[in-house]
């Protein structure tokens, strides 16, 4: 038992958890058996058993029954269920499409029913059920209230509301101007841009995977891995001072993790070229700073400006996108996609070579 717990604690480290999730994520679209009723039931029983057994552990019980965390436990189960429900219908429809039949939804498309009673009654039943759930939930679980606010005493665990924990987790890898302002802005713009970028006329109004593979994979990657997974990590696995703790570990306030992160400029000027940072020998004002960050700027600007045309020319896949979307749409899409991919890239750079910032100009609060 302890060995299993130890293993799960170890694999819950954001690094391994993230890698594992990404692998599972890309794998799950290939395994047709996952999207069947049989597997759904097995997975439900298995996850409930896992959850039930884990509740025997004190630390796990504390973290998953904290009143404000209960909805997030629910979120995990709901998300798993609805992912299953949508992909099951998608793959079922794909099977039908493959043998020349229309999607399931199509068979009822031209049938109409009266809103009263067919829809009104459904709404009524849903209302009553949900109302009952809310009342029971409220009786069982008291709304939490901590000590009165005290601006002079900051608690060891400081967390944003749970739906923003993905952004707080991003603070590990980005400066606040990116994690808190620019990237959320891009998420909003990117979401709104989806219907104008995705011009694929197929797959409108029914579940399908085969007809819109890339759209679904990109969206789900962003939603499930880069948003929800980070929320789960932030809620259950980040303790005092944002240190990592496994699900069966005690939150130890005294835990310290050594900070050994190095900027790209130090890597290049100090470790590789061995000449010291240019602002020490070239002047600490503008020119010295810009020279110091030259390689970072080249990388960042090259990433956003050179990669899209290069991919459009060299990669068959991206060339296809370029042809179907046209120049303007292609470049907007690529900018948004590349911005999104900076998060996993920065994560991996941090975990492998302890890279802190690619461009680091603390003098101007400008770190990338």
């Amino acid at each position: 038992m302890e060995a299993v717990k130890g293993f799960i604690n170890w694999i819950s480290d954001p690094r391994w958890l993230f890698l594992l999730s990404v692998i599972l994520f890309f794998f799950m679209f290939r395994l047709r058996v996952l999207w069947t009723v049989k597997f759904g039931i097995v997975a439900l029983i298995a996850s409930l058993a896992f959850f039930g057994l884990s509740m025997l552990d004190k630390n796990f019980r504390i973290i998953s029954t904290t009143p404000d965390n209960v909805p997030i436990v629910g979120l995990i189960f709901l998300m798993a269920f609805f992912t299953w429900l949508s992909l099951k219908q998608a793959f079922d429809n794909d099977d039908r499409l493959r043998i020349g039949q229309p999607p399931k939804e199509r068979t009822e498309r031209f049938e109409k029913v009266m809103v009263w009673p067919d829809l009104v009654y459904t709404e009524f039943i849903a209302t009553v059920l949900l109302g009952a759930v809310l009342v029971i939930w409220s009786i069982v679980l008291k709304a939490p209230l901590e000590q009165p606010s005290n601006p002079t005493f900051s608690p060891p665990v400081m967390k944003a509301p749970w739906y923003f924990l993905g952004l707080q987790e991003m603070l590990v890898y980005y400066d606040p101007w990116l994690a808190g302002v620019v990237l959320p802005g891009l998420i909003i713009v990117g979401l709104m841009a989806i219907p104008y970028i995705d011009r694929n006329p197929r797959g409108s109004g029914y579940y399908t995977f085969a007809e819109r593979k890339y759209e679904i994979m990109v969206f789900m990657f962003g939603f499930m891995i880069l948003w929800l997974l980070l929320i789960v990590i932030g809620t259950f696995l980040r303790g005092p001072n944002w240190n990592f703790f496994g699900p069966y570990e005690t939150w130890d306030v005294a835990k310290v993790t050594p900070m050994v992160n190095v900027n790209l400029s130090e890597y290049i000027w100090v470790k590789i070229l061995g000449v010291g940072l240019p602002n020490q020998w070239f002047g600490a004002k503008y020119m010295g700073i810009l020279l110091r960050e030259l390689f970072g700027f080249i990388l960042v600007i090259g990433y956003f400006t050179a990669l899209p045309p290069v991919l459009a020319n060299r990669s068959r896949l991206f060339n296809g996108f370029y042809k179907t979307l046209g120049g303007a749409r292609y470049h907007v899409m690529m900018f948004l996609l590349l911005a999104m991919m900076t998060l996993p890239i920065k994560m991996i750079l941090r975990w492998t070579i302890d890279l802190k910032y690619i461009v680091s100009i603390p003098e101007w609060f400008f770190n990338i």
């Binding site: 979120l75 609805f82 949508s86 009266m114 009263w116 829809l119 009342v135 219907p195 995705d198 029914y206």
Partner: protein, 261 residues
Amino acid sequence: MSKIKDFQEYVSKSQVWRSIFRVGVPTTDRKRALAVLGNVFLHLHPVKVRTSGIRLKYTWCMGGISFFLFLVLSLTGLLLMFYYRPTGEYAYPDIVDLGEQVSLGLMRELHRWAAHLMVITVWLHMFRVFMTGSYKPPREFNWGVGVLLLIFTLLLSFTGYLLPWDQLAIWAITVGGNMARATPFAGYEGPGASLLSIGDIRLVHAGDDARFALLGGRFVGTNALLRFYVLHCVGIPIVAGALMAVHFWRVRKDGGISGPL
């Protein structure tokens, strides 16, 4: 049995009953259509819908559930406003009293759990709309309205988080508010802010930057409490309500709930 029937008939033929419900329980299709058309609430709906569009498996009812939760939150929020005063002196004790003194004091629980749940159902609704490709023409605009609704749902939740005025609240909002400090150009610790200066005088400083606008101060104090209260109870609900009206209207104008051509 016949006694009950008699009683039912007596009630439904009485002047009071008939003055409220102009028609009885509709039994024919014609009457059912009129019931939907003639009711101020139900006429959000068309008279007939496609069978494929109302399948629970298809919509998961998530949009409707989000709306229902919004109504629950409005109602419980209204009740909470009778007891809660947004000042540094009263806010926290009022919350304590809500749990300990108010009889049947469930309103705070209902409000908090419904709020958490609404964030989740709005996300799931977005997920289902994406998975059915329902943002594709002619529904692009309504998807955009939906994204705005998502933002306002999160902002409603965020502004409400401060109101209990406990340690959890002020430090969570501090974490959030500190991000505003780093807004490019508009936050005093944001890139570019130092460029906005005349000679040695900085135009953007801790006393007038984006965070100051959000919190009404340099830290989370009673000004922030009042600001968040007004936004939470009046400002954002009005905007979100208006957007919902547009959202529902567009669902119908765009041809009802989506389906394959």
